[in-house]
Structure formats: C-alpha cells, structure tokens
C-alpha cells in the first residue's frame, strides 16, 4: 500500500536530514573548489553552447542575450539530469546498508534529489548575477515559474524512480542513461529557443513534457509572458503519472536490491 510506504518514510525523516547533510558536507569537503564545483559544470557547458549556438549558428534569443538564456536553462537542466543520473546509481553504491537495515530505500534517490536542489539554489544565485549584469528585467510572470518548477520536479523524481526500478533488474541500463540524457537535451528547448522549432512540428514537440516545461520556464523567467497553460496542464498530468507510477514500480522492485549478489 502506498500510504504505508509514505507513513514509514515519514517516520524515518530524521535520517533523511542527516543523510543529506552527510552527502553535502562530504562532497564539499573532498574537493578544494567546494561549492564552486557544482556551478562549474553548467557554466563550462554554457560556454561551449554559447560558442556553437550564438557565435557559429547565430541563434537569436531576443530580447534576452544568449548567455542569460543558456545559463538559466542549463542550471535548471543540470538539476534534473544530475538526479536521474546519480539517483538510481546511489542505490547500487550502498548495498552494504540495503542488505542490513530496513530503512525506506527511496531515501537514497531522494537524498540525491535534495543535493541537486542545493546545487540548484547555488546555480540560481549565479543566474541572478547574469540577470543583473545584462539588466534582464524580472516580471511578475516569474512567479509562474514556481508552478513549472513543481511539475519539473515531479517529472524528475518520477523518471528517477522509474530508471531505478528498471536498473535493479537490468544491470547495464545505467550505462545507457547518460547517452539518453544527452539526446533529451536536444529534444527540449534548452540550448535553443522554442521559436526555432517549425510551427508544424510544435504541437508534437510540446507533447514531450520536458519540452513544455523548458518552454514554459523561458516564457515566465525570460520573456515575461505565459501562453502554454494547456500544454503545461498535459505535462503536469504526465509528470504526476510518472511520479506515482515510478514510485510504485520502485517500491515493488526494491526487494530485489538485497538479493543482488
């Protein structure tokens, strides 16, 4: 029963807090760069994309400079990609705990998600510097981005649970995930704006929840408008289904974790 799962998870919530602290602390203690490390990756890839898309291909993201556009998107993109990439892997990395202690297993991927949230907060601080430097105005529409963020988070956690549930059974799935994520980057408006997608294809394109989510981020955060309400409602439904379905699938597969030999 899902309610039982959630009740048990709530009873163990103290552990989740310590687990998150442990992971954030150790991650930043190990590296001399500390928190900068989490920022460096989206910034560096932002530079590469800026060269390819703004300098070589002359992509226009008017009225926002491409630098602001790409940094904002990549910080948000890294948030969910890091969770999907590391969340399932962390289960296999902690089999010593899993084969001994009966704690809610979803805490391990959820812990990774929380770490990604911490990274996101740092990333958004840098994004706000970009906004200030390029004098990009923040409109009231930015509040709408909170709704988009909730949908985006549901999608991210849902996919993480789904991948974890399958990876428990199929061992080499995790090796394919980075490739799939790299492809997914180009199927959503992350490094190019939605305007460049041909109008005939746009409806199909926005059926991908990630496509709608990122298009909606851009409208609300960068362009100061909101025209995708219907598409976003569909994306919200798909994301919610993914979250509930992924979680249930994960809970039914988690038993096999302790039997991996």
């Amino acid at each position: 029963m899902p309610q039982d799962h959630l009740r048990r998870a709530f009873r163990h919530r103290v552990f989740l807090g310590y687990w998150l602290r442990r992971n954030v602390l150790t991650r930043y203690r190990q590296t001399t760069l500390g928190p900068l490390w989490a920022l460096l990756q989206p910034m560096l890839s932002g530079l590469v994309y800026a060269f390819v898309f703004a300098v070589v291909l002359r992509v226009q993201t008017h009225p926002v400079p491409y630098a602001v556009f790409v940094v904002t998107n990549l910080v948000l993109w890294t948030y969910s990609m890091r969770t999907i990439l590391i969340g399932p892997a962390v289960l296999l990395a902690h089999l010593d705990l899993i084969t001994r202690v009966q704690f809610p297993r979803e805490f391990l991927p959820i812990g990774v998600w929380l770490e990604s949230l911490v990274d996101l907060a740092l990333g958004l601080a840098v994004v706000s510097l970009f906004f200030a430097y390029y004098r990009v105005p923040v409109t009231p529409y930015a509040l709408g981005a909170l709704v988009v963020f909730a949908i985006h988070s549901a999608w991210t956690l849902g996919v993480t649970f789904l991948v974890a549930a399958i990876a428990i059974r199929i061992r080499d799935l995790l090796q394919v995930i980075p490739v799939l994520l790299q492809l997914a980057l180009y199927l959503a408006p992350v490094v190019y704006p939605l305007d460049l997608v041909p109008a005939a294809l746009r409806r199909l394109y926005l059926l991908n929840p990630l496509g709608t989510i990122f298009a909606a981020y851009q409208e609300t955060l960068l362009f100061g408008r909101f025209t995708l309400a219907r598409e976003l409602a569909v994306a919200a439904m798909i994301s919610l289904l993914l979250l509930v379905g992924g979680y249930r699938l994960f809970k039914s597969a988690e038993w096999q974790l302790a039997d991996l030999l």
């Binding site: 009873r11 163990h12 103290v14 552990f15 807090g17 310590y18 687990w19 442990r22 602390l25 150790t26 203690r29 190990q30 902690h94 010593d96 705990l97 899993i98 084969t99 001994r100 202690v101 009966q102 704690f103 059974r169 199929i170 061992r171 080499d172 799935l173 394919v176 038993w255 302790a258 039997d259 030999l261």
Partner: protein, 283 residues
Amino acid sequence: MTTDEIVTRSGVVDAPVVTVSGVSKVYRLGPPLELRRLLHQAVVRSDPPGVAERPSFHHALRDVDLALAAGEALGVIGPNGAGKTTLLRLLAGVTLPTRGRVRVEGRVSPFIGLGMGFHPDLTGRENAHLYCALMGLDRSTIRARVEEIVSYAEIGDYVDVAFKRYSSGMMARLGFAAAVHADPGSVLLLDEVLAVGDRRFYVKGLATLAQLVSRSTMVFVSHNLDAVARLCRRVIWLDGGRLRADGPPSEVIGAYLRAQGVPTIGAPSDAPPSKPANPAAAG
C-alpha cells in the same frame, strides 16, 4: 514444540517473539539480466557470445524452522556460507524468503554490522549521529546516544577528527559502541560485532553484550565460539543452509567442533585474543 508456542525453561507457555517456519531462501546466481543480452536475444534469438552460461541457483537456507521466546539469546554458528547472514537478513526484513514464513513481533533492530554507513570524511561524532539516524531514532534521542557512544568508544580528542584518520582499533571501537548504543529494538540482531580491538575492550564489549542479553531478545552470529558460549543459552548450528543442531551451547558447539575436526578445548583460530574456552564449562 510447535512454532506457535514455546515452553520456556520455567515451564511457562509463551508466544514466540520470532517465528521462522519452513523457510528456504534461494539466490539467483549466474549471468545478470543485461540490456545487451536482451537486445541480442530479441534480434538474433540467441545469447551473445561469452555469456552463454545458464543461471544457477544458490540455496542459502533450506526448510529452517525456529522459534524464539522473549528474552532468549540465540547463538548462530556454522562455517562460512552456511546461511547465517541470510538468516539475519530475513529476520531484519531486508529480504523475503523464497518459501516459508518469517514473523517477528515488536521492533527489530537493524542487522548490525560494524562501521556500517560510516563515511571516511566525516568525524567520529558526525558518523555516530548518522548511524543513530539510520537506526530510526529521533533528534533528541540521537543527541543523548551520541554522547554515550563517543565516551564508550574511548576515542578521546579524536571525536572531532575525520574517521579516515583513525587507527583500525579506534574505528572498530567506535563501530562497536555505535552498534550497541544506537537503540537496539526489542529484538537484536548482531553479526560478528565482537571482532574488535584489544583484549581489554573485548572484555568490556562482552560485558555490555551480556547486559543487553538480559533485557532483549537477541540473535548473535559469530565465529567466536567463546563469546557465543558465554552469551547464549541456546545455540543453533547451520550447515549448508540446513539447521543441523539446536540446543544448549555445550552440546551444539561440541558437536560442531568435532565435525570441523578441531579439538574440543581449542578456540577456533579466528577468535579474538582470549583464553581458549571450554564450551562445556562456559555453557
């Protein structure tokens, strides 16, 4: 003896706290399920070269029946691969039996091993906090327990030093201290926790475990037959997944040592430094 009631030594009929009835556990070994293999099978309808081996199965436990009354301390002995760890996993509820039923009344302590979940970059105190949280304690209890743990472990100023800088003895002491202080439930599962430190700490640890025995139900897995004989009044011997003997320590340990071809008065070579035990006298 049925699995539903036990006549304890005093003759009182007691509902068992732990019931294991007809339990078998089979692990699947052999080639893991891989995307590569699934694709190959779908396309060419055969296994890809190199992974043609068939899955095989390992019977970790076969038809084990066991019932434990409240307050009983059960020692579990047997050679490596006998199914001792699998039994603890089943009792801890981290895995399900392939056949049969496992029932545990009350709160089970997690299956405790030494230094579980300790992170090398965290200090001793931070690790103790994390360990207690892992055991499901709440914040205020954790604070109290952590103090007990660090003082029991005798690690002095090292409490605030990264765990990776500890000597192996300090690591083992902190691990043991955490294991016995972090609120064990009403049913305690202990796996080889006494393989720690020097003679003095071993004696201290044994005394602590003896105290725990007096107020909880305990399943104690160890190769240290001396400790098993001292702590437990009942011992089972697992061999190849089967329950080979169940009875008072003197009998079971004696039979086990005879079967191993070890003279009965010698402690096994992997026991911590301690005087050779005479199981007959200790039981």
